[in-house]
Amino acid sequence: MTATLLVNSKLVCVALNDKAQLKALDATFNQAPYNKPPTQPVLYYKPRNTWSVDTAEVEWAKDFDGKDVPTMVVGASLGVVIGKETCRVKPEEALSFVGGYTVVADYSLPEENYYRPDIKGKCLDTSAPVGPSLVAADKIAQPDALSVTIKVNGELKSTFDLSQMQRSVAELISIISNIMTLQAGEVIAVGFAGERVALAKGDKVEAAIAGIGTLNNTLGGI
């Protein structure tokens, strides 16, 4: 790893925070094994073996027989970088605990279900580039007004306006900080477009947020 990792000790991701995705899955989520739609943010971790940086290659995953997996996907999110210890804060004060913003890309196997923690899909080495840099929180007045795009080999594949998130940045910081005390340098990826983007080996991926930056990564496996 040549560049400094932006993440310190924890990268929490919020799944199912796209209103349109929740609506589309409503019938599914009213059946077994879910039985009812989520009442709380759906959270998962990208652990430290996944953390990576701008310009790094993302490893193409292998299955349990050691063969290359057929498909990988990517989602991109605004990364909220905590600025100071954040314990049980209220939504109205939450943004004052943010140190800055960045871009998080989550490379994974396709999201097939949400019932059990997706260790096989989400915990792949180098699958969470974060960067390219940290934009100070005072430069971004309204994080929920940002828009996240993904281009693959130069072609626009996904656009997600954060105004379409089920829960706002401030609400998420508040809820998560009531579960766990967050420390400076920990990162929350607040929401991904429900439709993840399918990838092939060697693809060049740009995950971008205007005003924050562009994260460039290339898939390995060739």
């Binding site: 989520p38 709380q40 971790y45 073996n49 019932y115 059990r116 766990m180």
Partner: protein, 260 residues
């Protein structure tokens, strides 16, 4: 040999404990205190905690107790250092819940980096074993990435320690009596022989997915016999030949103090 981290008179010490219970610091200074001394504050035993993998439903009798069929593949979830606390420290019971239970578990601490580790080589990657209490708040379970972070990622709800026992000193981790007492009464009495997926299996499994690193931990699940906990209760999780881990339950208000 056993390894631990303690605070004595404000000094944070990395220590070894020999077979005669004699404490020696990393710098070679001997600390003349008995292990049950009130002057020792026990810290979580892994100095630089990495990823904590925890197993759900890894004992057939506990899976049945929760009305689940035993899994065919490990049910693994991840925790981080915010959940850790040491021996003889406090864990909190959230306000307005019905059911919080302990889970006494054997923990394998990873000592060496590895990927695609074979089962037969797995113990070469283990630094040692310790005990944890992987508390769960059942009220907060939802069927999304279950057990979800709200249940399993709360501050203080993973006491661990007091020490790590060298892997060489535990010839058979697959046959250790595991007991829990609440206020002195035995409430859980099982054996690691009833584990569905043992430590070598789990190391092979996880390292097929990702690189394991020193300081990562694998908490291997709990057998039958969980019970609700209330503020004021003292719970002791014990595993034969490893250690006894004591925790006192306090209210959410007492735990968070000015942040409450």
């Amino acid at each position: 040999m056993r390894y631990a981290r303690i605070l004595v008179e404000g000094r944070e010490l990395d220590i070894t404990i020999d077979a005669q219970d004699k404490i020696t610091t990393q710098e070679g200074q001997s600390i003349d205190l008995p292990l049950d001394s009130d002057q020792i504050t026990w810290l979580p035993p892994v100095k630089e905690p990495g990823t904590i993998f925890a197993l759900g439903l890894n004992y057939a009798d506990h899976a049945t107790e929760l009305n689940f069929a035993p899994p065919k593949e490990p049910l693994v979830f991840i925790k981080h250092a915010n959940t850790l606390t040491g021996h003889k420290q406090t864990s909190y019971r959230p306000d307005n819940i019905e059911y919080q239970h302990y889970e006494c578990e054997l923990v394998a601490v990873i000592g060496k980096q590895g990927k695609n580790i074979k089962r037969e080589d797995a113990l070469d990657y283990v630094a040692g074993y310790t005990v944890c209490n992987d508390f769960a708040i059942r009220d907060y379970l939802e069927n999304y990435y279950r057990p979800n972070l709200r249940v399993k990622s709360r501050d203080s709800l993973l006491p661990m320690g007091p020490w790590i026992v060298d892997v060489a000193d535990v010839p058979n981790a697959n046959n250790l009596r595991l007991t829990t007492t609440v206020n002195g009464k035995i409430t859980q009495d099982g054996s690691t022989k009833d584990m569905i997926f043992d430590v070598p299996f789990l190391i092979e499994y996880l390292s097929k997915i990702m690189t394991l690193n020193p300081g990562d931990m694998i908490a291997t699940g709990t057998p039958h016999g969980v019970a609700d906990m209330q503020p004021g209760d003292t719970v002791v999780c014990s595993i034969e030949s490893i250690c006894d881990l004591e925790t006192r339950i306090v209210s959410e208000q007492e735990y968070y103090g000015k942040n409450y």
